[in-house]
């Protein structure tokens, strides 16, 4: 499944307690980079991740993430923490993490 995707990552918590956010339209990326991101989205199985039961270990200062994906009119919201970081999405999450900026947290 090719096409483009619009994604937004929100990261909260952490020792610093910052709220960080990054948005991205994959259409703005170099074709090879976009292809890598789209492959990661395919491999991640967003339907499964969205419904997966989430472990809630008593972590303190861990990051919590929310990833919104809008792709071809279908939207997904995936929530995870450092304990269940979805490895297949690593290329996308790394890119978004690099672009994230602090936003008001409350």
């Amino acid at each position: 499944m090719a096409g483009h995707a619009r994604v937004r990552l929100t990261r909260t918590g952490g020792l610093a307690g910052l709220r960080m956010q990054a948005e991205l339209d994959t259409a703005q990326l170099e074709p090879s980079q976009e292809a890598e991101i789209m492959r990661a989205l395919d491999a991640a199985d967003l339907d499964r991740l969205e419904k997966a039961p989430r472990p809630e270990p008593p972590m303190r200062d861990a990051f919590h993430y929310e990833l919104d994906v809008d792709r071809g009119g279908r939207t997904h919201r995936i929530a995870f923490s450092d304990a269940d970081w979805p490895e297949p999405l690593d290329p996308l999450l790394s890119l978004l993490s690099d672009r994230a900026r602090p936003v008001p947290r409350n």
Partner: protein, 354 residues
């Protein structure tokens, strides 16, 4: 077992440590091997205890004198795995050619020293639990955290928000204190109890740094994370004396007038942080002379519930100040001044019961 591995018998860890340092290569290897197995057993028991949380009654399986940390530093090699990586420096082993590993080792040692010399607390669980520092977690990871299962994870930072997180003695003390809190009041991680959980980690984290540097309350900057911030968060993550002033993104309230309903646990923690800083600076000397012990007695008081509010925590600090130093003592007055400054109400009677 003993035929082939004579050291895998009941030997005190101290002797094993001496053998691992002084004996022949063969004996040394066997001693280290045995220590590693010993550490794994203890880790399994500690993890099991940590998962339960709170003040659970545990059978005493061995008598322990205490006073000796059991540090295990692992290299996560930039992976995100939640399990410990390769052990690169265990207790008693010499420094390695990797500064963050040595910083974690030394920082956990300073934290152990603070808790042992001030309260005779033997590690995270009072029972000599190994202190596991997992270093080089993730890639450019801007954070350090306690996983609730006996491990402290440390990222290297991206150089913009945060730098090497093991460089902060207060940060290492902060993370280890999350483990202490888990084994005591086990404060729930949301609302006021969550902000108290965070504040308690800052309160003891800053004291770890102050003790290691020999600072009295006037010499400390009362900043959290000053040694690990990058340019975007300079000069620090939080200011205990002046919440809200630590960096351009710092929105911590300095008293209850600014309390953020539904706020992040790292937001409202500024209020009890400042109360502690006022108590300690009002009394002078070292923070661990009286203010630290009052806070510690409160954290360990079974009357402190896991869902405690600021006012409930404050009342117990006043109770302990009164019991130890007297109801009209300078210490009790300083505790009142601290909570008054941040506008957390205290009971009228001086014993904290009224």
């Amino acid at each position: 077992m003993c035929d082939h591995h004579p050291l895998r018998c009941i030997l005190p860890p101290g002797l094993l440590h001496r053998l691992s340092r002084d004996a022949s290569e063969e004996v040394r290897a066997a001693a280290l091997d045995t220590l590693a197995i010993d550490a794994r057993f203890r880790l399994a028991r500690a993890e099991s205890a940590a998962r339960r949380g709170g003040r659970t009654v545990r059978p005493v399986t061995f008598a322990r004198v205490g006073g000796q940390p059991q540090r295990v530093i692992c290299d996560q090699q930039h992976r995100r795995a939640q399990t410990p990586g390769k052990v690169v420096r265990a207790e008693g082993q010499p420094a390695v050619d990797d500064e963050p590993i040595n910083q974690a080792y030394d920082g956990l040692g300073a934290t152990y020293t603070y808790y042992w010399t001030t309260f005779e607390r033997d590690s995270i669980d009072r029972q000599g639990m190994p202190m596991m520092g997992l270093v080089h977690y993730g890639r450019d990871y801007d954070n350090a955290f306690w996983d609730g299962a006996g491990h402290m994870f440390f990222g290297d930072g991206d150089g913009k928000l945060l730098t090497q997180t093991t460089a902060g003695l207060d940060v290492i003390g902060h993370e280890l204190t999350h483990g202490v809190t888990q084994h005591e009041a086990n404060l729930e991680y949301s609302g006021q109890s969550g902000a108290l959980n965070e504040s308690v980690s800052d309160v003891f984290g800053i004291q770890v740094k102050q003790m290691a540097l020999g600072q009295d309350v006037t010499q400390s900057d009362w900043l959290i994370g000053a040694d690990i911030v990058g340019p975007q968060l300079a000069p620090a993550l939080r200011s205990m004396k002046q919440p809200g002033s630590a960096n351009p993104h710092d929105d911590q309230p300095a008293d209850m007038d600014g309390y953020v309903e539904g706020g992040d646990v790292h937001t409202n923690s500024g209020i009890p942080n400042r109360a502690f800083a006022v108590v300690a600076t009002t009394l002078g000397g070292h923070a661990w002379d009286a203010a630290g012990p009052i806070w510690y007695a409160t954290l360990c008081d079974p009357a402190l519930s896991s869902g405690a509010t600021f006012a409930e925590f404050a009342r117990l600090t006043l109770k302990h100040a009164g019991q130890v130093y007297g109801r009209t003592s300078p210490q009790s007055e300083a505790v009142r001044a601290g909570w008054d400054a941040v506008k957390v109400p205290l009971p009228a009677s001086a014993d904290g019961q009224g």
